[in-house]
Symmetry: D2
């Protein structure tokens, strides 16, 4: 088959690779129908994720069709159309039993294995371990594109931003960073009943996108953002501040605009330590959360997508065929230039 | 002043009454700007609520303007425009401290006192006890009509239907009874993220209203309702079934269509006992809730109304001036004939 | 092998039976080291559970040692000492994923299959389906007897009484019925921080047991119980009332002694409908719950047993060898006469 | 009257002061029967709390008897014995209504006003504002000493350590710092059902105290603590790590020993910023909380103290009369030397 193969820092190619085959009786083989590229894939290509070795097939988001099932698989069958989530779940470890597959012990302590510890989903076919406890059947009345982003980015925004943030009906929230994951957080915060959603970003184009993902107010990033957010809340602060960039300055901003008793939810991937002003925050009754998505909310998001209450497909701004995936990488790698959010890649 | 005075079963009149005055230092006097009529007022007129004695001014929902404040009132002042909720809260009893003013011990064990144990709000002026812990300031940018129904029916639907029902994003719910309180439950269930809202009623006109309050599906009440609701959920049952009628048949229906692990939330006012099939339900892991509104969610609903996320004013189908209140009673008392939901009565 | 075989209503025998063998790749075979008898087994023998057919091996609670594993089993191995819970969990259905194995869809909608839909655990060996998502490794430093009752009765009291009841630190609760499951509820309510535990039973001997399982007050069942419980709470009512008998009179008592805002948790198995006084309860803001155990709290209870914070072994009042199991049935079937709570049966 | 008066950094005296009198109609005057000294009082004496001005009477924990009531006070009367909590609550602001009196807006945004913004409780008499929404009636069957520490330190340990930490039955927790507030956290974590409580401190004498407050394991503070705590949990980490010292090193330790999905609850008062290793923690699904006590759990703790389930009086290691309060300060100020936890000062 053909697949997008990592060749060490800076090197990727749409190349011939071995067809995957069943290894464990709980595996299935999936023919990939639709896939996409994640910001994490770009990090891998920069060499930032040393666990990814040369020759690894990348990708951890896809919709596909089952073509083979392992001996222990009884609830899935050949021909089933499934969403393959970024995070696999063994279903039997202490973490999976409470919906925290992000730290699946059956997968060695981290549920993200596709395109990381095993071959990924940017390929014609892929082996999916722990299939019955990982994949989700896709109803006939929803398209691949409606559910593709439920592999990773929608549940990331919802679980790590909205649920950990504890967003409730009537809340005022700020989402700092209006990239794809920030937009996913806005879209799902709206579902959770937020009354006001303040989007914060440096790029006007992203703030424009934010409006169509549920933002009710927009604030330009930078030195004045703090004052502007506080002004929107009569100086009181927001119920939930979500950090969706991954740098110390935006984390700091979040701690400064959250109200007493509020929550700072970190969605961004951080590469460096930050300063935590406990000398000010100890008395403020705030909560700070971090997290990697588990995918526990995919059934919820599927139900909402099916009824049209979330339109996840709006994240897909650019479309490619699977054999154009290198072009897709070029566009996604220069997202700002192309005003791209996510790419949709179909077989 | 003039007021709507109860004269014993079947008798009401727009009559002269004594002006209210401050009794306790925590009281305020409010000039009533906008008020409405509740189904409970009709029950009182039928003689169903013996605690209401002859001469009592009726009404427990209003928006008004403060004209006088008691000596202990420091956070409210003359001229403040306030929402007076159906339930007053002493703010210091064990129940009020946890947001359950429905059972306010400072008010004798029941928070509903207006038009019940003391004079009510269908009048030119009214005394409001426990003012600082009961009323809500109305922001300038919302109209009386946008918040009037936050006195009682919206928080009833939200607290007793949606919150007690535990509605979560993605849920499928059934609301049995599409009268005003059922519609309020639908509107707020949508805010809480319900994916599918199945409205059930005998009257086609009410099912038509249901659609505009967020129902995604409608089912005609009657013998076939059970099968139809189950069919909509592939035989599985709904996450939350709300009873918004108040009779045994609809309660039974709710227990039959709720899924294992689901909740039956009783919003309706029941006048008779019912049979509970514990021989079937004991194993089903269900939860059944009951309740009188406390008003703890009024700030939340105000925030949502202010942003236009709920349009509570849609409940107001008929409009009257205060001195036409007897006409308003006639229309509201024959609501089905007039296709009326709630009336809006302005000074 | 030998096993306790059901021979139709009223007939049971310690008899020869086929050795179990692996059917599905997710099965294991367990050699039974310690088992017990449940009140449900007595119901089966009375013919109350038609799904149990002649020839079925009974029993659904055991500690044993794995002697064989299916091809898909990777996290358990021969020689592992495991607690086999009453409820098996497929781990992949919607119910199992949220900890509600009671309604496991992989097992056909009910997680209780041992000694019911498949052969049970009162035998020398047993086949355990869905092993990796069902059984629990037993640490070396706890005895069989310390964990045996974590198969069913302890988690039933904890999940269906304490968790569904919402018992919080400082609560006053009443447990109506001081049989084994009522005692399990008292023991675990104490762990959850209940300040006062009022045990209610007709039998003085059971009230004596109640004291050693955490009851702080005891009340004789009968006509005066209601007044006595209310008197203990200054007329206010209890935070949580648990029904652990299974008849209408005790359910009624629970609804009469629960405080506004409190919960009635049904633990008892009900065989008949009851009257629900919604005409009184609709306004009372109460919650009524029902349920079959799922076993989701077994890891929690294991952790507590291991530290000596719960002494589940106190439920084991009478001891037998496996080949004396018919005697054990005689004693357990006349529990009151023998002042028996639960029997312990060892290989 | 006589009172302990702050005279600027380093200066305090048991001095003559004006008798307090009713200012607002919601005030009461309390004769102080029993009081104590807080670590915060020592900070004030060091000059660390600039808001405290010369002449201020210190102290914010007491049990006393009401001697006068304001005009609006109806549920309290002369002669009532009350616990005066550290935090007053206006009962009507948005924060007080949800139990977060720590940030009472009626008191200017901070609920701690005694011995800080107004005169305190280390005196013969004190004015108590917002009395009906702040003080708690003390039942006759409990002594002053049993409830004195419910003013501040017990609810601090419980609300900021146990509740914000989310301690559940069966949890393993670490409490870093076994001073009075750490001990309060251990005592209340035990009530919340923690299975294992690991106390960490540099001082062997404190670890000895820890055992009597519910610690099941003790670990000497210092470089090896991390490894030792991890070893106690098979390398996995604790469910909840509580920081009860207030310095960067112990905060760091907490983030290193908390398990994926666990919580770091900051109870300590921090005087300096710390480094937050988001580059490691972003993926760990952890929660970090901070907070000042609100006192919302005082009724719960009172119920538990009354039943003997918590023995808060064990914190009182040294006893003085009110006119010996300067001696009490000397002992408490050199707590380690005297092996003192808290002092009890009676009129």
């Amino acid at each position: 088959m053909k697949a997008l193969v990592f060749g060490g820092p800076g090197r990727r190619s749409w190349d011939t690779a071995d067809d995957p085959s069943i290894i464990d009786p709980t595996d299935v083989i999936v023919q990939i129908d639709t896939t996409t590229i994640c910001g994490t894939d770009l990090h891998i290509l920069k060499g930032d994720v040393p666990a990814v070795t040369d020759g690894r097939i990348l990708g951890h988001e896809a919709v596909g069709t089952i073509v083979e099932t392992g001996a222990a698989v009884s609830s899935l069958k050949k021909g089933d159309r499934v969403l393959v989530p970024a995070i696999t779940s063994c279903g039997r470890c202490a973490h999976c039993k409470v919906g925290m597959a992000a730290h699946c012990q059956g997968a060695g302590g981290i549920g993200w294995i596709f395109g990381h510890l095993i071959n990924g989903l940017q390929a014609e076919y892929a082996r999916v371990p722990f299939a019955e406890t990982s994949v989700h059947l896709v109803p006939d009345d929803v398209s691949d594109e409606q559910v593709l982003f439920l592999s990773d980015i929608l549940p990331t925004g919802y679980e790590i931003g909205v649920q950990k943030g504890g967003v409730k009906p009537g809340d005022t929230i700020a989402v700092v960073g209006a990239g794809p994951v920030g937009l996913a957080a806005m879209m799902t915060a709206s579902i959770a009943g937020a009354a006001r959603i303040i989007a914060v970003d440096l790029a006007p184009s992203r703030l424009r996108h934010a409006r169509s993902f549920g933002a009710t107010h927009t604030v330009a990033g930078g030195d004045a953002a703090r004052e502007e957010i506080l002004a929107l809340t009569d100086g009181y602060g927001v119920d939930v501040a979500m950090e969706a960039v991954g740098v110390p300055a935006t984390f700091d901003l979040c701690t400064q605009v959250v109200r007493p008793g509020g929550t700072v939810a970190n969605i961004g991937v951080h590469g460096a330590p930050t300063t935590l002003h406990l000398e000010e925050l100890w008395i403020k009754n705030i909560t700070i959360t971090t997290g990697l998505v588990s995918g526990s909310t995919v059934p919820t998001l599927l139900a909402l997508a099916r009824e049209g209450r979330i339109e996840a497909e709006k994240l897909g701004t650019h479309h490619f065929k699977l054999d154009q995936i290198e072009q897709a990488y070029d566009v996604f790698g220069a997202a700002d230039k192309h005003d791209a959010l996510k790419v949709v890649i179909t077989a």
